[in-house]
Amino acid sequence: MTRRHSDPYFAGIGIGVALLGAYVLAGRGLGASGAFSRVAAGVMGPSTATAPYLGTSLWRDWLVLEIVGVMLGGFLSAWLAGRLRVDIERGPSISNTQRLIFAVAGGVLMGIGAKFARGCTSGQGLAGGALLSAGAWIFIMTCFASGYLLAPVARRLWR
């Protein structure tokens, strides 16, 4: 039997407390795309684009350790709620193969976008937004605006 999801506001407050914990304990915010950047830099080797990571170990990187925690937390929560299942989740009008292709394509776009923006929904939007960073709010606005503007075009993916 699978349990129902928590109230969104309850989940949001929990994430907010985690983010506050990061500010207080580590002097920085949460993140996600930065861990991908770090891993990519580890694979490609140091270059101009990956300069901040020169000479640091992957396992001494705050965001990499944090994202390992995210995966473990998600896994534990789903396990205890009976929601662990190998599956491909998609809209009703596309095939599994199409879904996987679009998932990769969307991931590529987000990877490039997050590099230009210096962060994603977590590290830039949430962590920067809560500190009132000007750039974070520019990111939040253009991110959601483009999603809503293009939603009618992408309708077949999800409806």
Binding site: H5, Y9, G12, I13, G14, I15, G16, A18, L19, L20, G21, G27, L30, A32, T48, L63, E66, V68, G69, V70, M71, G73, G74, F75, S77, A78, V86, D87, I88, E89, F102, A103, A105, G106, G107, V108, L109, M110, G111, I112, A114, S122, Q124, G128, G129, L131, L132, S133, A134, I138, F139, T142, C143, F144, A145, S146, G147, A151, L157, W158
Partner: protein, 187 residues
């Protein structure tokens, strides 16, 4: 970036904080792409509610802890602003979010809970970052353009941090009220 407790303590805190983050993302249902995509079709407003309640919680907590002298907000790394790259990056990211149905953090939760589409998004993200790094010499000028440094939007419009905090809280509460009404109207 070291933090007030020193580097080792900060690195031990990292997976613990991540665990809480991942736990609540999954609890809220944000490890599921169709649910997140519902945000863009106004059929499921969970993303909006979770995102802004988390943002307001952390913002109010940080503001008041700083105000009461418990923590020094000046020690927390404020992300730097680059107007052009962040506007364009946000638009690319939003497009990718719509197509993928997951963002980087939620794709990790999806992948960790057995969703193969989540794993595909994780792979795509890595590919995107690699592509960016390969193209860096061509985009470097734009990437570094319109730099304003570590500024708050309140600095740009000339109001105090407290006013900004109140403004964001008011807009979020208004949004929550609207979301509630909208959901009632749909039922």
């Amino acid at each position: 970036m070291i933090g007030p407790l020193g580097e080792t303590a900060s690195l031990i805190a990292a997976p613990c904080i991540g665990l809480v983050f991942g736990w609540f993302l999954e609890r809220g249902g944000l490890g599921s792409a169709p649910k997140l995509a519902g945000q863009f079709y106004f059929t499921d407003l969970t993303v909006f509610k979770v995102f802004f309640s988390a943002l307001v919680t952390a913002m109010l907590g940080a503001f008041w802890l700083d105000h009461l002298g418990v923590m020094d907000l000046g020690l927390v790394n404020l992300p730097e602003t680059f107007i052009g790259p962040q506007a364009v990056g946000g638009a690319l990211f939003g497009t990718g979010f719509l197509v993928a149905g997951l963002c980087p953090g939620t794709s990790c939760v999806a992948a960790a809970t057995g969703k193969l589409d989540g794993l595909a998004v994780v792979g795509g993200m890595l590919g995107g970052v690699v592509l960016f790094n390969l193209a860096f010499p061509w985009v470097e000028r734009f990437y570094a353009s319109t730099a304003l440094g570590a500024v708050k939007f309140t600095d740009l419009i000339g109001v105090s941090t407290g006013v900004g905090v109140a403004l964001v809280t008011a807009v979020a509460l208004g949004g929550f009220a609207l979301a509630g009404r909208f959901e009632k109207a749909r039922e």
